[in-house]
Amino acid sequence: MRYFIKKTVALMVTLLMAAFLTFLAFEVIPSDAAVANLSIDATEEEIQALRESMGLNQPLLVRYGKFLLGAVTGEFGESTQYGLPVAELLSDRFGVTVSLALLSFVLIVGISVPLGILAARAKTKTGEGIVAFFTQTMMAVPGFFLGMLITLVFGVMLRWFVPGGYVPATEDFFGFLRFMIFPAIAVAVPKIGMSVRFLQSSLKEQMTSDYVRTAKSKGCGKRRVLWKHVLRNALVPVVTFLTMVMAEILAGSIVIEQVFNLSGVGRLLAVSISSRDFPVVRAIVLYTTAVVVILNYGADMICRYLDPRIKEL
């Protein structure tokens, strides 16, 4: 309980600090939003007037307060590029990215946990060799290549899905799923390779522990030793690893989104940076940091539940 409170306080502090740094970063960028919004031949008065109306002349802390308030209420200002409120612009993109992330996460966990256990039980040289070959191949294939390969085989040749034919889940849920499963596979495959290896080595290490011997001396069978004793010990590093993977996907897989023509957060970020759409960039940066921090918080909680020895801040 105490651990939970400590961690929650730490989470809040980290989030505030991240928000402040994000805010500060855009403050020090040598580009004036007001100037950027006007044409080159704008007069000094016009610039000043716009600065006034955009609130750029207020003291730093006041502006930070406003920024923070906006962040909490989902008010990030207006995109200079699309002329739309940032919140509205982002909410569509979030839907795509989050569903892609969730779908690939389900694939990663659902496939790599059983495979990892199977791999750890591979006792023979050949068995280990097969595992090593497949996991290494999976890790080595670049995401864009895999994406293109999937599009070619399943989209163009087999016609299981229409390349670029994204359907929002609200319109046709199964159509949405039928399309999204392919980019999700492209995202998941390299990560599955990694997590299988991770889980395999973690399990193998635990299998040789003294407490396994004790469990056997009590009369536990192989299955009970694995599920009751080993798995929980072996999961801690895997949970931490999966959190990183999840954060990475949620922050937007620009390449996969590009290949499958998905309008997710990653692509929006790329476009916004090149067109200096700072309100959007700022919102995405803030969102990404928040995702990472909150996911780590969740991972800490799970690890603490799995392993009571973890207690330090």
């Binding site: 040789t208 407490y211 392993d307 020895r309």
Partner: protein
């Protein structure tokens, strides 16, 4: 057919390990023995003698890669393992073993910390043998667990149930292990060096506990240890093993009073004599000699102090909560003592008494909070575990040369010469400089650690349990070496240990520590013969 009161009989047991490109390494070579009902059989031997492998083979817990064969292992008339069993028979044997393990036969291990599952509460772990072998209901199980814990002299059993192994001390963990092993009142208990990782006081208590529980439940015990004094105290019969074979076997009295084989005699001689072995007359006569006088006789000409500590306190800070202030915990409290030039100064105490902290202060690794420490020159340190305190990626020669490279301006040739001399002095093979630490034995590694400490010609050497990770015979050799080097170089040692017998053999003066404070300090012999404080008596095993 085995005779009626024979509980376990092992015939022609062999255990070997496969090795790459070499012949298999034989760990146990055709040994046979039996344990009678209610009997305590001890197996003694150095590490590598195959005693642990024998125990693990009986329990069917040999590590992967071990090959095991035998004529038969019979437990209570049931065949646990036979010769050349086919697949089907093996399955049946496996099933029988699982039914018996944790029920009729149980085992406790050397390392009580790692032998318990770190992520499961005590209750879950202790419940397992009950769940697997009995049909007790939830409440009965809990009652049985608390009863077992109480019998193992763990008082607040109910509180323990929800605790995790890391929250308990080493002694408590071993008690939990014993309680867990005894929970189904097994007929055979196998103990694999159960006290090696514990300090002297706890060791005695644990041995006593095992003896009492075995008697109460009429349990036979197979007790494996390299500590002969423990075996002598506990066992009815003792078997001495070496290189996988039985050297000698007999009743405890036969083995200890009239050993027949040379190896057994050597083992006894190497085991440093504990205070018990002294006769009463010896005690009184030695006690009469004036300790100061004797001390003066030894090093009359040197009264200089190499190290003096005055009112030293050491603390470390601990934060108990986010908003609480950091709390200071004192690991060493107001300690004052001097170490004379050329003496061996022993520091003894249970684990957790602050001896290691004190040593780190003396070596300058920690700073003091109050008081002062004056040390002449730069002391060198030798650590307990030669397996982990030497860099595995470097050759021995490099390890020995390093302090010279850093602290002196010697040329490479001079450094090499110094290394060669040091190897000779520590009785290491000449080519040891070109080997990696992993290629050396435990004793050789500790020699390397000693050589590395002495190569810069320090005046003072701090030894942190330098022999407690070693076998008795190797222990004796290393102690000899330390004493020889001390004589030749006029060194001063500060020797930290929990092994009273070793301390008695090597130290001139001893300081007894408890909870960071000095309990007693004085000449070794007089302290051993006439301990003044209750705690010292307890530590020496005299109540």
């Amino acid at each position: 057919m085995t005779s009626r009161n024979e509980l376990l009989s092992v015939k022609d047991l062999c255990v070997s390990f496969r090795r790459k490109k070499k012949a298999d390494k034989v760990a146990v070579n055709r040994i046979s023995f039996s344990v009678k009902e209610g009997e305590i059989l001890g197996i003694a031997g150095e590490s590598g003698s195959g005693k642990s492998m024998t125990a693990l083979a009986v329990m069917g817990l040999l590590p992967d890669g071990a090959k095991c064969s035998c004529e038969e292992i019979v437990f209570d008339g049931k065949k646990l393992r036979g010769n050349n069993a086919d697949k089907k028979e093996q399955k049946a044997e496996e099933l029988l073993r699982r039914q018996l393990s944790g029920f009729e036969m149980a085992m406790i291990f050397q390392e009580p910390l790692t032998s318990l599952n770190p992520v499961l509460p005590i209750k879950t772990q202790m419940e397992e043998p009950l769940l697997l072998h009995t049909s007790l209901g939830k409440e009965d199980r809990e009652r049985a667990i608390i009863e077992a814990l109480t019998k193992a002299e763990l008082k607040n059993g109910e509180q323990l149930l929800q605790q995790y192994p890391h929250q308990l001390s080493g002694g408590m963990r071993q008690r939990v292990m014993i309680a867990m092993a005894m929970i189904n009142k097994p007929r055979l208990l196998i103990c694999d060096e159960p006290t090696t990782a514990l300090d002297a006081v706890t060791e005695r208590e644990i041995v006593e506990l095992i003896r009492r529980l075995a008697k109460e439940n009429h349990t036979s015990v197979l007790f494996i240890s390299h500590d002969l004094s423990v075996l002598r105290e506990l066992c009815d019969r003792v078997m001495i093993m070496r290189d996988g074979v039985v050297v000698e076997e007999g009743t405890t009295e036969q083995i200890f009073e009239h050993p027949e084989r040379n190896y057994t005699k050597r083992l006894m001689a190497a085991a440093v004599k504990g205070p018990k072995e002294l006769s009463e007359e010896q005690r009184t006569s030695e006690a009469e000699t004036d300790p100061e006088n004797e001390d003066g006789k030894r090093r009359r000409d040197k009264v200089a102090y190499v190290l003096s500590a005055e009112h030293v306190s050491v603390s470390y800070r601990q934060r108990t909560g986010l908003f609480q202030k950091r709390q200071e915990k004192l690991a060493v409290k107001e300690m004052s003592f001097d170490v004379r030039k050329g003496e061996v100064f022993g520091i003894v105490g249970e684990s957790g008494c602050g001896k290691s902290t004190l040593l780190k202060v003396l070596s300058g690794l920690y700073s003091v909070r109050e008081g002062s420490v004056n040390v002449q020159g730069t002391p060198q340190m030798v650590f307990q575990d030669p397996y982990t305190s030497l860099n595995p990626a470097k050759k021995v020669g490099w390890i020995l040369e390093e302090p010279l490279r850093l602290k002196t301006k010697l040329s490479e040739a001079e450094r090499k010469e110094r290394v060669a001399r040091m190897l000779e002095e520590t009785e290491l093979p000449e080519d040891a400089g070109n080997r990696y630490v992993a290629e050396l034995s435990g004793g050789q590694r500790q020699r390397v650690a000693i050589a590395a400490a002495l190569i810069t010609n320090p005046e003072l050497v701090l030894l942190d349990e330098p022999v407690s990770a070693l076998d008795v015979t190797v222990q004796a050799q290393i102690l000899e070496l330390l004493l020889k080097l001390q004589r030749e170089h006029g060194l001063t040692y500060v020797f930290v240990s929990h092994d009273m017998a070793v301390v008695r053999k090597i130290c001139d003066r001893v300081l007894v520590m408890k909870d960071g404070k000095v309990v007693e300090c004085g000449n070794t012999e007089s302290l051993f013969l006439n301990p003044k404080e209750e705690y010292t008596k307890k530590l020496l095993g005299r109540k």
